[in-house]
Amino acid sequence: MSFLTQETFDCRVAFADELIALAKQDERIVAVCNDSVGSSNLVGFQQEFPDRLINVGIAEQDMVGVGAGLALSGYIPFVCGASPFLTGRALEQIKADVAYSQSPVVLCGMSPGMAYGELGPTHHSIEDLSWLRAIAGLGIVVPADPDETRAAVRWAAAAATPVFLRIGRFKVPAVTDSFTFGTAGLLRDGTDITVVATGTMVSRALEAAAEAADQGVSIRVLNMSTIAPLDEQAVLAAARETRGIVTAEEATTTGGLGAAVAAVVVSSPSPVKMRMLGVHREFAPTGNTDFLLEHFGLTAADIRAAAVELAHV
């Protein structure tokens, strides 16, 4: 069975629908964006709530600061921009105005990873998880599909805490059935190897697990939709109950999911071998997203190969 041939979805659509639904119920919800009404999929929000859409123009530092000012005044701002610019351009505002000031802003990094494909490394957001995971007090959530995106938006609106939501543009199939902040989703149990995946990699991990089963390797799949704080118990259980862990993320492996899992595994009572799939500190060549995921070894076949190899170490 191939998950990738099933119907797939742009999570920005679910994001926008849920945001509008919530905004109808709660007038504290506002959106702040950087000329990204279209790319953040906020056209409907703008039509519905013209006064509650604050478009500051192409000015990310201002955008995050404005979001913090709104949050500190009792509003629930969803601050939306393409992830590379939101996180890279406004990193100090995210640190000082949002996380350190404990202003409950919902930072929405749109079109992350290598969703912008041929537009190149300037527009890829593969560093975001590493950068943001280093900031104290900032939750990091990477939904894997539309339902999880909706649930994460609902959670974030009520959470009253600084959080970053990584909202995918690259289309993914529906794979989740629930979301609990800080808790890994066990999407498939297995006894040999655990694949810990996030975002676009989750459906690919499930496909890899199905194919590995045909080769006699039993794979557990964890959907690690919360990167920070990490569900350490789920990682410890994987280290205890399976013989190896593969992490898969559409991001650099320098400080994101793989590094977070590894930090738990090396200090666990039962450290196991790991393989970390992602981008290893490289700028991407030219190519569309499908090509780049293949180029960087992020297909279901790559995940399966890494898991099977690890099972035979």
Binding site: V30, V32, D51, R52, I54, V56, G57, A59, Q61, D62, M63, V64, G65, V66, G67, A68, G69, L70, A71, L72, S73, G74, Y75, P77, E92, Q93, A96, D97, Y100, S101, Q102, S103
Partner: protein, 293 residues
């Protein structure tokens, strides 16, 4: 989180009332005395801690004193009152000036100033809103206060609140581009409930602003961004009061307050080395004599 000091808050209320009811010259004298008391307390604090930013603290204290003792609708005993006016100190390195002013208004006990910069003190080298009542957002890195204040002004408008947002900017920090992003937003949105006060002391850490990366003509810059601009003497409390309480137009207000870095202490005034030099005990004593005049 520090808590209010009701006795000092009561004294602050009385002094505010006296200032409000006084004839102009008396009003100026009361504010001058109050600001100089804060200057002396600040210097004590910095001397004890062995660090601080005295030059910018001295230049901004007449602005902060005028705001807290003559303008801001705040209540030190209810620092989170939703419809309070907001005061954001964007030049967060002059936390000492803010702390000495907040303490004088009773947001916390003046005795707390003795803990400035000590291990685990609420009074960090840059202000933290989670620990210090009256601090509206954490500042320190430059160029952050204006965007956050724009957000607060947008919020005030959305909430149809009468509250006003004041943000105090250093002049040197206007070299940070984020300010101009926010200045554009405020001008475009005609945020008449926002006042930016520039502490124009013309010195930054290492040299004069105009020799480093010139800001002038600063008034024209803000005007070009859609603001109403007023240039005042930032040490003249009556001029400051007048400009802060004047009827507002339909645009955000920028008050360029011409100040002297190190103001009030003869041997510190307009000298670049007093950006963050720490005064000796003898210098603090000399300063105290000058400030008591």
């Amino acid at each position: 989180m520090l808590v209010a000091d009701p006795r000092t808050a009561a004294a602050w209320r009385l002094l505010r009332q006296e200032i409000a009811e006084a004839a102009p010259e008396r009003r100026r004298e009361l504010l001058r005395q109050r600001a100089n008391q804060s200057r002396a307390a600040d210097l004590e604090m910095i001397g004890r801690a062995g660090l601080g930013h005295v030059g910018g603290d001295m230049s901004v204290l007449d602005i902060l004193t005028t705001l807290f003792f003559g303008v801001l609708r705040v209540d030190p005993e209810h620092p989170e009152w939703p419809d309070r006016d907001r005061l954001v100190l964007s030049k967060g390195h002059t936390a000492g000036a803010l702390y000495s002013t907040l303490a004088a208004a009773g947001f916390f006990a003046p005795a707390e100033l003795a803990t400035f910069a000590a291990p685990l003190s609420a009074l960090n080298g840059h202000p933290n809103r989670v620990k210090v009542p009256g601090v509206e957002t954490n500042t320190g890195p430059l160029g952050h206060g204006l965007p956050v204040s724009v957000g607060m002004a947008v919020a005030g408008r959305l909430a149809a609140s009468e509250r006003h947002v004041y943000v105090v900017l250093g002049d040197g920090e206007l070299q940070e581009g984020s300010n101009w992003e926010a200045a554009m937003t405020a001008g475009h949105r005609r945020l008449a409930n926002l006042t930016a006060v520039v502490d124009r002391n013309r010195l930054q850490q290492g040299a004069r602003t105009e020799e480093t990366s010139a800001l002038d003509p600063l008034d024209d810059k803000f005007r070009a961004f859609g603001w109403d601009v007023h240039v005042v003497d930032g040490h003249d409390h009556l001029e400051l009061l007048d400009v802060f309480t004047a009827p507002r137009g339909e645009r955000p207000t920028c008050v360029i307050a011409n100040t002297i870095k190190g103001r009030g202490v003869s041997f510190m005034e307009d000298r670049v080395e007093w950006h963050h030099k720490v005064p000796s005990a003898e210098q603090i004593a000399l300063a105290a004599v000058e400030l008591a005049r």
